[in-house]
C-alpha cells in the first residue's frame, strides 16, 4: 500500500532558485509533509564577507516561510571537496573536460544528501530538476523533462534504480515558463530570480582565474595538426575540444577551433573551420557505466545518445564489454566528442543511463590528440 501524501514525508533540496522553490510549493499543495533543506557544498565567502550561499539560504528561508514548511541547512563541503572537486581538478590535470554536475548528482545530491534526508525520516527526496520519474514495467524509469530545452537527465545519468525509487522531480512535467508563472502567481520571493549559470562553485566568476588558483597554468604553443606554430596558449586546461572563443589567432580565412592537446609537449592543436575534419569521430569507449534499470542489459543494442548537454540525440550502437566498459559506435560521425564529458543513452523519452567518455576513435584508430 502506498502511503497517502499526508503520511509521506518529502525532503526538498532547495537551492534558493525558482525551480526548487516551485518544486516545494507543488508538493505542499499536493498535501505532502514537506521539509526544505539547503545544501551548502562550497564556501565562497569573499573579502567583504559576502557569501552566495548565505544569500541563497536567505531566499530559501523566505520561500519556505511563504509556503509554510520548515527549513534547515546541511553542510557537505567536505564531501563535495573530496568527491567532486578533487575529481574535477584531476580531470583537468589529465587534459580532459570534467562534468562536475554529473558527479555532484551522483555523489552528493543523490547520495550523501539522500542519506541525510532518510535520516530525517523522509520517504522521498525531491529536487527542482527537469526530469521525470514514472513507474513502468515494475520499476522506476527516468524520463526526460517535458521542456526539451531544459531537460536535465544528461546530468542525472548516473542515478541507479535504488536512488530513483526514492526520488521525486515535481517540475519535470511542466515547462520552465510555467514554473516561473506558478512562482509569480504564488508570489514566491524567488519568482524572478535569475537562473544560475555555469558550474555551481564557480558561479559568475572568471573560469580561467578560478582554475588558475588551483592548478598551475603552463603557457605553451598553439600548433596546427601538421606542426605549424600559429600562436600561444595560456595553459591547456583552459581549452576544450571544439572551442572557438579565446584563441586570439587573427589572419584571414575561416575561424580557428581547438582540435586537441598534446600534454607531453604542452601544445594545443588548432585548425580552421567549424567542420574541420579532425573534430569528427565515429566511435568511443566509455567508463563508469551506470544503468537506471536493474534489469540485465543486452551486450549489443541500438539507441540514441547525447555527448554534450543540450545537443540533439544521435543514433548509436552500444557494445557492453566484459570489462564493464562500453563501446559506442555512431551511425554518423559526430563533431567535438570530448573525453571527460558524459555520454548518455536514451530509448525515446527514457534515460537508460550513461558513462564517462574515455577514448575517441575514427576509422577504428584512436584519436590520441584529443586526450
Amino acid at each position: 500500500m502506498k502511503k497517502s501524501p499526508e503520511e509521506t514525508r518529502v525532503v526538498v533540496g532547495m537551492s534558493g532558485g525558482v525551480d526548487s522553490s516551485v518544486a516545494a510549493l507543488l508538493l505542499k499543495q499536493q498535501g505532502y509533509d514537506v521539509i526544505g533543506i539547503f545544501m551548502k557544498n562550497w564556501d565562497d565567502t569573499d573579502d567583504t564577507g559576502m557569501c552566495t550561499a548565505t544569500e541563497d539560504y536567505n531566499d530559501v528561508i523566505r520561500v519556505c516561510n511563504q509556503i509554510g514548511i520548515p527549513y534547515y541547512a546541511v553542510n557537505f563541503e567536505k564531501q563535495y571537496w573530496d568527491k567532486v572537486f578533487t575529481y574535477f581538478l584531476e580531470e583537468y590535470k589529465a587534459g580532459r573536460t570534467p562534468n562536475p554536475d554529473v558527479m555532484c548528482n551522483k555523489e552528493i545530491k543523490f547520495n550523501a544528501f539522500l542519506d541525510h534526508a532518510l535520516k530525517l525520516g523522509a520517504d522521498y527526496l525531491a529536487t527542482g530538476h527537469y526530469a521525470q520519474v514514472v513507474e513502468r514495467d515494475g520499476e522506476v524509469k527516468m524520463l526526460r523533462g517535458i521542456d526539451d530545452n531544459k531537460d536535465q537527465t544528461y546530468f542525472l545519468n548516473q542515478l541507479t534504480q535504488d536512488q530513483l525509487s526514492k526520488v521525486m522531480f515535481p517540475i519535470g512535467n511542466i515547462e520552465k515558463k510555467e514554473v516561473r508563472k506558478i512562482a509569480q502567481e504564488a508570489g514566491l520571493a524567488t519568482a524572478t530570480k535569475k537562473d544560475s549559470t555555469g558550474i555551481c562553485f564557480i558561479g559568475e566568476r572568471n573560469f580561467k582565474e578560478f582554475l588558475g588558483q588551483y592548478l598551475p597554468a603552463q603557457p605553451g604553443m598553439m600548433v596546427t595538426m601538421d606542426g605549424k606554430k600559429v600562436g600561444n596558449h595560456d595553459g591547456l586546461m583552459y581549452y576544450t575540444i571544439g572551442q572557438r572563443h579565446g584563441l586570439g589567432i587573427g589572419g584571414s580565412g575561416e575561424p580557428w577551433f581547438v582540435l586537441g592537446k598534446d600534454l607531453e609537449k604542452n601544445e594545443l592543436f588548432v585548425g580552421q573551420g567549424f567542420d574541420h575534419e579532425a573534430l569528427y569521430s565515429d566511435s568511443i569507449t566509455a567508463t563508469d557505466i551506470s544503468w537506471t534499470s536493474n534489469k540485465p542489459v543486452p551486450t549489443t543494442f541500438t539507441c540514441t545518445a547525447k555527448f554534450r548537454y543540450r545537443q540533439p540525440d544521435d543514433n548509436v550502437t552500444v557494445h557492453v564489454k566484459e570489462s564493464g566498459e562500453v563501446e559506442v559506435v555512431f551511425d554518423q560521425p559526430i563533431r567535438a566528442v570530448t573525453p571527460g564529458q558524459a555520454v548518455v543513452f536514451y530509448n525515446g523519452d527514457e534515460c537508460l543511463g550513461g558513462a564517462t567518455i574515455d577514448k575517441i576513435y575514427k576509422d577504428q584508430k584512436q584519436l590520441l590528440y584529443v586526450g
Partner: protein, 380 residues
Amino acid sequence: MKQLYADHAATTPVHPQVVQVMTDILTDHFGNASSIHAVGRRSRQFLDEARTSIAKSIGAHFNEIIFTSGGTEANNLAIAGVVEAMKQKGNHIITTKIEHHAVLHPCEELVKRGFNVTFLDVDESGRISMDDFEQALTDDTILVTIMFANNEVGSIQPVYEIGNRLKSHQAYFHTDAVQAFGYEDVNVQEIGADLLSVSAHKINGPKGVGFLYVKKGTLLSPHLLGGEQERKRRAGTENIASIAALAKATELAQTGRKKKREELLEIRNNLLGRLDERGVMYRINGSLEHGLPHVLNLSIFGVDVEAMLVNLDMAGIAVSSGSACTAGSIEPSHVLVAMFGQGDERLRNSIRISFGRGNTIEDAHKIADELAKIVKRLVH
C-alpha cells in the same frame, strides 16, 4: 504540535509581568525622558526608577548603569570604550578563546588595529587557569575581558579571583555576565568588576535592551555620539518601555533566584538520569560543578548534530548546537574547539539543552526519551 522549548540560553519567553509593564508604558507614557514638560518628566521617572532598581540589584550606584540596545552593544562599548580611553597606558588586552562573539570579534578587531591581545586557553571543562592568567598579565595590560559564564557549555570562570587580582593593577576588568545573570549571584562589589554586561532577553525580558555597568571613575570613551543621554556615554532617546521591562525582568530574576536554581538543577539531573536509564551514550561538555544550573551541553555518541537537531525539531523539541549557525556553516563551535581541539568528534555530535521558565521534570523526561529514540534510529 505543542512545542517543548529547551533553548533558554538562546533566548527566553517574556514573563507576563514584564509584558504588562511594557504594554502599560507603550500605551500611556510615550514621553521623551529629556523633555522639560510633564509628559517627559513621567518618562524620566520610569527611567530613574529602572536605573535605581537595577543598580541596587547588582550592588552598584545609580550613575553606574548605562542602558544599551543589548548585550552586544554593552560588550562593544566596554571594550572599544576602555581601549580608546586607556591606549596611552598600554597596548595589551586579555580575554579568552571561548568568549561570545560579541567580545571575541571586537578583540580580533583590536588585533587588526595593532593591539596585543592574549586569548587564554581553557581546559576540557571550559575554564581558564589562574596561572595562565597571571602569566599573561603585564604592566602593559589595560583591559581584561573574561565572561562570567559561557553561553554554550555553561562553564563559570574564576571571576572573583580575577577581580581580586586586578584590584592592584591598572587594567580594568570587564565581564560579560549576559548568560550568568539571573542564575548566579552577580554583585559587582564582590566580583570586583569595573564593567559588566547584561541583556534582558536572557532573563525573560524583551530583546533589544540591556545595560553596561561602569564603575564610577572608569575611563570610557563613548561610542554612539549625539544627545546627552546616559551622561553622554550612550546617545539616543531612551527606550523607556524596554528599560522598564528590563528592570522588571531583573527584579523577577533576582527575587526567586535561589529557588529557581534548585528547580533547574532538578530538571537537569532528571534529564541525565533518564538518559542513563535509556542507555544513551553521552559525555557532558563543561563542568557540572563549575557550571550554570540551566545549561547542559552533551556530546552524544555516534550521531551527527545536524540530523539530531532536525529530528528533535520535527518532534517539537527546540534545542540547539551551541552557537547559532547560518547557511549550514561548517564552522565548528569555537568554544568546543578551544576545549577539545580541532578534529575531536565532540565538535560534530554536541547539542545544547538549556532550561528555563516553564520547563518541568516531565519535559526533561520527554527530551531524554526522544533523544534515545533518535539515537537508536540514527546509530543503527
